[in-house]
């Protein structure tokens, strides 16, 4: 396959960026999108040009590092991570736009690499269960109904890639934040911190500069792990319940 790529190039966080055009040839439909970019980068290095910087690591769709907006869609046309997108999803001769996540809470570091540390700070605000090592009771001491365990798992699948934020017209982090809150709040182990968790995490989310939610639903469409949109509704319910209890509203 022969393709034309238009790639966002930006030397550093404080530099101006622009789209640059590159032609790539000899692309196999079996290549992953990132292997196609590897091919481009090998050529750029040999030409003495700066290769395109992008985040990637496991290339199995689980670490959440890869983060490209492809033809306007977070992670591209398939519902998966960029690393699991294959070139068979494109046609010979296509022109493909490649951009970084666009969100004010995710500043660009270089080219297609952005700073997602705001996500880590949301987790630090309460996305955990306080269970210091050694203090745990026997694992079977508390049975967890299977539907609850499955609900927790389905939300715990979030890989923290940030596609939800990139896809959202408001740059909101509601789906990410709700996934963690729903994972932990449904479990009996998470109950003691149920209220503080949701209040603190939502507060931190707002402080990090993420936008508000208008239920556009783009986040759930872009999520490579299928975190459902109702996750946000559940979080809002948790928040209301906690806020009332805390006498905030």
């Amino acid at each position: 396959m022969k393709l034309t790529l238009r790639v966002w190039r930006q030397r550093a966080a404080d530099a101006d960026g622009a789209m640059s055009t590159y032609d790539v040839d000899g692309i196999s439909p079996d290549m992953s999108f990132l292997e196609m970019l590897d091919t481009l980068n090998e050529e750029l290095i040999l030409r003495g040009e700066d290769p395109v910087a992008f985040d990637h690591d496991c290339r199995e769709g689980i670490c959440g590092a890869c983060s490209l907006v492809i033809n306007g869609d977070a992670h591209g046309p398939e519902r998966t991570t960029t690393c699991q997108l294959h070139m068979r999803s494109f046609a010979d001769g296509d022109t493909i736009d490649v951009e970084p996540w666009r969100a004010s809470a995710f500043p660009v570091i270089k080219d297609l690499v952005v700073d997602r540390s705001a996500f880590d700070r949301i987790i630090q605000a309460g996305g955990y269960i306080t269970a210091p090592t050694g203090a745990a009771p026997e694992a079977h001491a508390t049975a967890v109904p299977k539907p609850d365990a499955d609900f927790a798992f389905e939300h715990a699948e979030c890989i923290g890639c940030g596609a939800c934020v990139a896809a959202c017209p408001n740059g909101a982090a509601m789906l990410f934040t709700s996934a963690k809150i729903n994972h932990l709040n449904v479990l009996p182990q998470g109950a003691p911190e149920r209220e503080t968790r949701v209040l603190d995490m939502v507060e931190r989310m707002d402080d990090e500069g993420f936008g508000g939610c208008t239920l556009a639903g783009e986040c759930a469409t872009a999520c490579p792990k299928g975190i459902p949109l109702v996750s946000i509704t559940s979080m809002n319910k948790e928040w209301l319940r906690a806020a009332r209890k805390a006498g905030k509203r």
């Binding site: 290095i45 496991c58 880590d120 026997e138 694992a139 109904p145």
Partner: protein, 649 residues
């Protein structure tokens, strides 16, 4: 002139920390004998932890909970992304919830036997003991393990064992355990007890007066090279499987932290013990950048086969039942498709070498779920393996519900690593190695679902207990500052190395060298090894190294985000480590576990150990790039599990 292969044998290396006495009491004894640090004094001690995978994440969180000041590093943008996250299958624990005859002793026995009698009994027994606490800990953290309808935890069986002791979270057990550790770590970061430095890569170790005192690390965003000081340094930087270029490791997993520690005096043990995982997706072409594993749990219900006849190119569904060879079930009737990984991998290689492989290039075997779907129904198969099937389909564009999967072995895990004593301390005082970075628990072959167990055992329970002893016995020394002559020297070496990489301005990319050395290793130091092949590789590696420093091309500068520079610097270390792996494989003229020397096999082609000569761990001392290392043997004593020829028939 002496060559690299003319190694000399030095003094034996002895584990001075494992107590005597009945094996079941040794861990208690050691914990009691280890000195403690007064809780009020702990915050005055700084511990550096490199890596945030299962071992590093759990260690950082636990040390901080105990009151130590932790400075933690990872090259990823977030500690949540370490490659432990990709582990699929599960985590072993001797809970015996199934009442199927499991016990601490059986897990200990299975692990020693599975490791082909090349692991240290004391360490393995401790691992089996701690396994039960890990599950408790993870459940308390909210790890959403699979559960039965009654609300209790579900388990499944895994390769190399006959009990059901593997706890799992669908096909994402590693992810869920890692997020548990990451969340515990996050709580400590928020509390100010852990200073987290993401996108920062360790490039060297600072050793002053014989003690590990800190590291040199590069900020991957600004390129700034800095020094960090501590009272102890913990390496949790993972394995070195990426030396093979193609492996199931993450793209950026690398050996630099352990190799640089080795160059600074830490012995490197059993480097040739690498695990080739039997169930990976075959490669599709030259562009392949990494290989993807399909969880071994698939072997619980999938049946592995190849055509009976050579060169049979009919599609799978056109090959009648009686013209198929379910070779694992045929050769190993009692374990069948659940034989240990090394055996399953070698068997796959053998049938492909016979010309009976399937798929492009004949480098694959079928993993067939037709029987499982007929027996359990598609829905049950989907519930158990759905995400793995989706992943397979996404990569290969084939539907495994309709046509059998094609699999082939790939490099997956390295059992070798930095030599550590029972306290997980390396031969450099104050330098500890945990998780895949050390060598201690899996011998010559790791059983499935044991890596997660070991990473978390080391990080949550072992290291936090043993590191106290070191810190209590050594006065706090604090920051020596950049001006100390040793620090100046280490910094200068690091800067010179990076500057040289940028200055060569040759005509080959870092990847091209990585690929070259990787292919060489796969051919000569992969699934089957020979004296002559290893000698060929040992001749070739110094030539590649020489060419590397003549022809490498790294664009850009060191003072910026520069992924080519990161990569090139990692390749520098692969080009030395590869040589040690080949030498270790050459010197160990026996077959054991994942190390198969063609000269040492039984008449029916199984690995043949030579216990009288090789019942030891080989710990190598660095003497200089390309110069012969010194071998220090640690004799292994088997008091509880008597070495026998492994039999899974």
């Amino acid at each position: 002139m002496s060559t690299y292969a003319d190694y000399v044998t030095g003094e034996p290396v002895v584990d001075g920390k494992a107590p005597e006495g009945p094996i079941g009491e040794r861990w208690d004894t050691r914990r009691f004998e280890a000195k403690l640090v007064n809780p009020a004094n702990r915050r005055k001690h700084t511990v550096i932890v490199v890596g945030t995978g299962l071992a590093g994440g759990s260690a950082g969180a636990t040390l901080a909970e105990q009151g130590y000041h932790v400075v933690q590093f990872c090259y990823q943008d977030s500690p949540r992304r370490a490659h432990s996250i990709a582990a699929q299958g599960g985590i072993n624990a001797a809970k015996n919830y199934r009442n199927d005859g499991d016990s601490v002793h059986r897990l200990f026995y299975d692990t020693v036997k599975g490791g082909d009698f090349r692991a240290r009994e004391s360490n393995v027994h401790r691992l089996a003991q701690i396994s039960v606490e890990i599950i408790d800990q993870c459940v308390a953290q909210g790890v959403p393990f699979a559960r039965e309808y009654g609300g209790l935890l579900d388990t499944r069986s895994f390769g190399g064992v006959q009990v059901s002791r593997t706890f799992y979270a669908r096909g994402q057990t590693g992810q869920q355990l890692l997020l548990g550790a990451y969340q515990a770590l996050s709580r400590q970061i928020a509390a100010g007890n852990v200073e987290m430095r993401p996108r920062t890569e360790m490039l060297d170790l600072i050793v002053i007066d014989g003690r590990a005192r800190g590291i040199v690390a590069r900020d991957l965003i600004t390129g700034r090279i800095d020094t960090y000081f501590a009272d102890a340094v913990v390496l949790a930087s993972g394995g070195y499987g990426n030396v093979f270029y193609l492996s199931t490791n993450a793209m950026n997993s690398n050996a630099t932290a352990v190799w640089r520690a080795h160059r600074r005096g830490a012995l490197f043990a059993n480097p040739c013990f690498t695990q080739i995982h039997p169930t990976c997706i075959p490669r599709t072409g030259e562009h392949q950048s990494k290989l993807t594993l399909m969880s071994e749990s698939l072997r619980n219900d999938g049946r592995i086969w190849v055509p009976e006849a050579k060169g049979d190119t009919r599609p799978a569904d056109r090959i009648p039942e009686d013209e198929r060879d379910y070779y694992l079930e045929r050769i190993y009737p009692s374990f069948g498709n659940l034989v240990p990984r090394d055996i399953a991998s070698r068997a796959a290689k053998n049938v492909c070498d016979e010309g009976r492989g399937v798929g492009p290039g004949g480098q694959g075997v079928y993993l067939d779920f037709a029987d499982a779907i007929a027996r359990m129904g598609r829905k049950a198969v989907e519930a158990k393996y759905g995400n793995l099937f989706d992943m397979y389909q996404r990569i290969t564009d084939e539907d495994p519900y309709e046509v059998p999967m094609r699999i082939y072995p790939a490099v997956h895990y390295t059992m070798g690593g930095l030599w550590v004593d029972y306290d997980l301390q390396t031969t450099v005082p104050g330098l500890f190695a945990i998780g895949e970075a050390n060598f201690s628990d899996h011998g010559a072959n790791r059983l499935g679902a044991s890596a997660l167990m070991q990473g978390l055992a080391d990080g949550y329970f072992v290291l936090p207990a043993t590191i106290n002893d070191y810190l209590a016995r050594h006065p706090r020394q604090g920051d020596t500052g950049r001006q100390h002559p040793v620090v100046q020297e280490v910094l200068a070496e690091t800067e010179d190395r990076l500057n040289l990489l940028l200055a060569v301005d040759g005509d080959r990319t870092p990847d091209s060298f990585h690929r070259e050395v990787g292919e060489l290793m796969w051919e000569f130091c992969g699934m089957a090894r020979t004296d002559s092949g290893l000698r060929k590789a040992l001749e070739r590696i110094p030539q590649i190294r020489e060419e590397f420093w003549r022809r490498i091309k790294v664009p850009g500068t060191g003072e910026e985000f520069n992924q080519s520079l990161e990569k090139a610097n990692r390749v520098v270390d692969y080009l030395e480590l590869a040589e040690l792996m080949c030498l270790d494989a050459l010197h160990r003229a026996e077959s054991c576990g994942g190390h198969f020397r063609e000269e040492s096999q039984t008449p029916d082609g199984e690995a043949e150990r030579r216990d009288e000569e090789f019942t030891y761990a080989a710990a190598w001392e660095f003497t200089g790039t390309g110069t012969a290392p010194v071998l220090h043997r640690e004799d292994l004593v088997f008091e509880y599990v008597h070495p026998t020829q492994r039999s899974y028939a």
